[in-house]
């Protein structure tokens, strides 16, 4: 499973900007699938070997952030640490029509912004593996008065085969300590 660490800064040449635009389009398509509740279609955006990970985050002493601020994928509990099987189960659950935390369905909008390509290999011009970072603002309105605002960062590794992107690793950094929502029923 690839991690999301970046080895060297990428050169921002024409190939970079072209690739970034392609990535942006992919992200907007993906957001539209989720917001328009085309969940099955969204699953196709995810690589079969995906790691979908949202750590829990701690208040730690200055200087310990790199080491201790977030839970890791390798051990212990996080908010999400799942593979494609589990994500498919989440979609199946919504489609049962009796998943009461999403029945009736919430109204959700994904705003994806600050998109940058951090690494492209073998090169921006013919990349098959791309590391990106972006910000998200996910707005959820539920039933009548329930509203949740999820703001954070996303660090992805995308694979590209025959011009098609898929997410193979997604790390979702929600900017919260104690979770301020009653349930994380939306995808990020």
């Amino acid at each position: 499973m690839p991690d999301n660490t970046v080895s060297a800064p990428i050169t921002r040449d024409d190939a970079y900007f072209r690739l970034r635009q392609e990535v942006e389009e992919f992200y907007y398509d993906e957001a539209a699938m989720l917001d328009e509740r085309r969940f099955d279609e969204w699953l196709d955006c995810l690589h079969d070997d995906i790691l979908y990970f949202m750590p829990m985050r701690f208040n730690v002493k200055f200087g310990q952030h790199a080491e201790r601020e977030n839970t890791t994928a390798d051990e212990g509990m996080s908010w999400f640490n799942e593979d494609k099987w589990t994500l498919r189960k989440r979609v199946e659950q919504i489609l049962t029509g009796v998943h009461y935390a999403e029945e009736p369905l919430s109204r959700v909008s994904h705003l994806i912004t600050n998109i940058q390509v951090k690494e492209a290999s073998p090169s921006a011009a013919d990349a098959t593996e791309i590391k990106t970072s972006c910000r998200f603002f996910v707005y959820q309105n539920r039933v009548e008065h329930e509203t949740y605002n999820y703001v954070g960062r996303r660090y992805d590794t995308l694979s590209r085969e025959n011009g098609q992107f898929q997410v193979i690793r997604r790390e979702i950094i929600l900017e919260q300590n104690i979770l301020l929502a009653k349930a994380l029923t939306t995808f990020f």
Binding site: K61, M77, E82, H99, K182
Partner: protein, 455 residues
């Protein structure tokens, strides 16, 4: 005479007034009478293995520090400077030799004593007695099989007396899967805020098995430990052939456990992964050898008065429902595994725990939805004129019956019931009325003092 703050609540009739979930006056009294007296779960020793290690927790609405001092002794302190009250620790966990208040820089050592007060000699000498102004410490603390419980009441009975016959059910959550006492570790804590009164959640964990239909979506799709093998349900069926027992204890605790009819009726979880399945089968065999007939008693869920819930197997852990205002609860979910289990087993379990539990868990999301909208209804004027029905399996309990050849201590039914909730609210009313400890331990409750003939 004081008006009856419990309204139409009548537990003999099996009705509970909705006001108890929304009334500010009742909530204020709960904070003073329940959370200052009862034993509360604070954390686990595995979270603070080394001297100087601390974990910031809660008791009721208040922040506390669980810390192992430099001499290896465990303490629980109110997280509030004695001078003006600022939190002396705002990290979730770590290691330290001092807690320093950010406001006027009073410092305290890990045993809670005042270490430094700025300009003490010039400004306080001869006036402030340093011995008296250390961090405020709980009145009693126990390390029970690694689980740290504490109370602010020096007159509270000791922990084991407080737990009574419910203790063996806590054992089943804390002990190793092979029956060795203790030996578990916390692998993470989910913390989240949910918009419901804290009693809704506590009551659910008492053994409200009647809410099963609310989990139909996960049962249909199959997310259990063996879900990948195509097995439906949200758990593996290790309790399928067992006789389930719903138990109310005089102290207000309630559990739902199960008794296997014979040794042969046990199906270990993890049929999708032979290696993991073998590990659990081996644990089960060792547990049988160690505990004999008693090993046929298996844990499911429960709640120890007032707000420490547990899941005993799938998943496994303790959960504390901290009051956070009358209409909010902070859930702190401590997940447990055997400390010496192989990494593959821990990985298998934590991934199941994550997809099952808490606000991101497919099962419990649906609980959160129900708790929100159910408790919200209690604010309605008309709604509040109509109390809730708690009559499920009323008058069906037996005292200390024999079930599948094992005596089960407490008031027991072998059918779904709300008698744990009825018993819980009886004790809860005693606390809110500031009753003496004998009353709080159910010694004057006739239901628990009738000697019934065993089957």
């Amino acid at each position: 005479m004081e008006k009856n703050i419990f309204g139409d609540t009548d537990l003999d009739a099996g009705v509970v007034d909705r006001r108890i979930f929304v009334d500010e006056e009742i909530y204020r009294r709960e904070l003073e009478t329940v959370f200052t007296r009862a034993w509360l779960f604070v954390g686990h020793q595995s979270q603070i293995p080394n001297p100087g290690d601390f974990f910031t927790s809660r008791m009721g609405e208040e922040s506390v520090i669980l810390v192992r001092d430099k001499k290896d002794e465990i303490h629980v302190f109110l997280n509030s400077c004695r001078h003006r009250g600022m939190k002396v620790c705002r990290y979730d966990s770590g290691n330290t030799s001092l807690f320093t208040c950010p406001y006027h820089a009073w410092t305290y050592s890990t045993d809670g004593k005042v270490r430094g007060i700025p300009q003490y000699k010039d400004l306080y000498d001869g006036v402030l007695d340093r011995e008296k102004w250390g961090l405020i410490e709980v009145a009693q603390l126990v390390n029970y099989k690694g689980a740290i419980f504490a109370t602010w009441d020096k007159d509270a009975p000791d922990f084991e007396t407080y737990m009574g016959d419910a203790l063996m059910h806590l054992d089943m959550a804390l002990d190793c899967r092979d029956g060795r006492p203790g030996g578990s570790e916390v692998i993470g804590v989910h913390r989240w805020v949910l918009p419901t009164n804290w009693k809704y959640t506590a009551e659910n964990f008492l053994g409200d098995s009647y809410h099963n239909p609310s989990h139909r979506s996960v049962d249909l799709i199959g997310i259990g430990p063996s879900g990948r093998a195509g097995i439906k349900g949200r758990r593996d069926g290790e309790l399928e052939t067992a006789t389930h027992v719903w138990i109310n204890f005089p102290q207000g605790h309630g559990v739902h456990s199960a008794v296997q009819p014979s040794f042969g009726n046990y199906t270990p979880p993890a049929s999708d992964d032979p290696e993991i399945g073998e590990y659990f089968a081996e644990c089960h065999k060792l547990r049988q050898e160690r505990l004999g007939e008693e090993s046929r008693l298996l844990p499911f869920t429960g709640n120890f008065f007032p707000n420490t819930g547990y899941h005993g197997g799938q998943p496994r852990g303790l959960v504390v429902w901290h009051p956070h205002g009358v209409d909010k609860t902070e859930g702190w979910r401590f997940f447990l595994v055997d400390a010496d289990a192989p990494k593959s087993v821990k990985d298998y379990l934590r991934k199941f725990y994550m997809r099952y539990s808490g606000p991101a868990g497919m099962t419990e999301q649906d609980d959160m939805e129900n708790w929100l909208y159910a408790s919200k209804s209690c604010k309605g004027v008309i709604a509040r004129r109509n109390p809730f029905n708690y009559q499920l399996s009323k008058d069906a309990a037996q005292q200390n019956p024999i079930v599948n050849g094992i005596q089960i201590r407490g008031r027991v039914t072998t059918q779904m019931t709300e008698h744990m909730a009825r018993g819980y609210y009886r004790r809860w009313m005693d606390y809110v009325n500031d009753a003496d400890w004998d009353t709080l331990m159910g010694k004057h409750d006739p239901r628990h003092n009738v000697v019934q003939a065993a089957e």
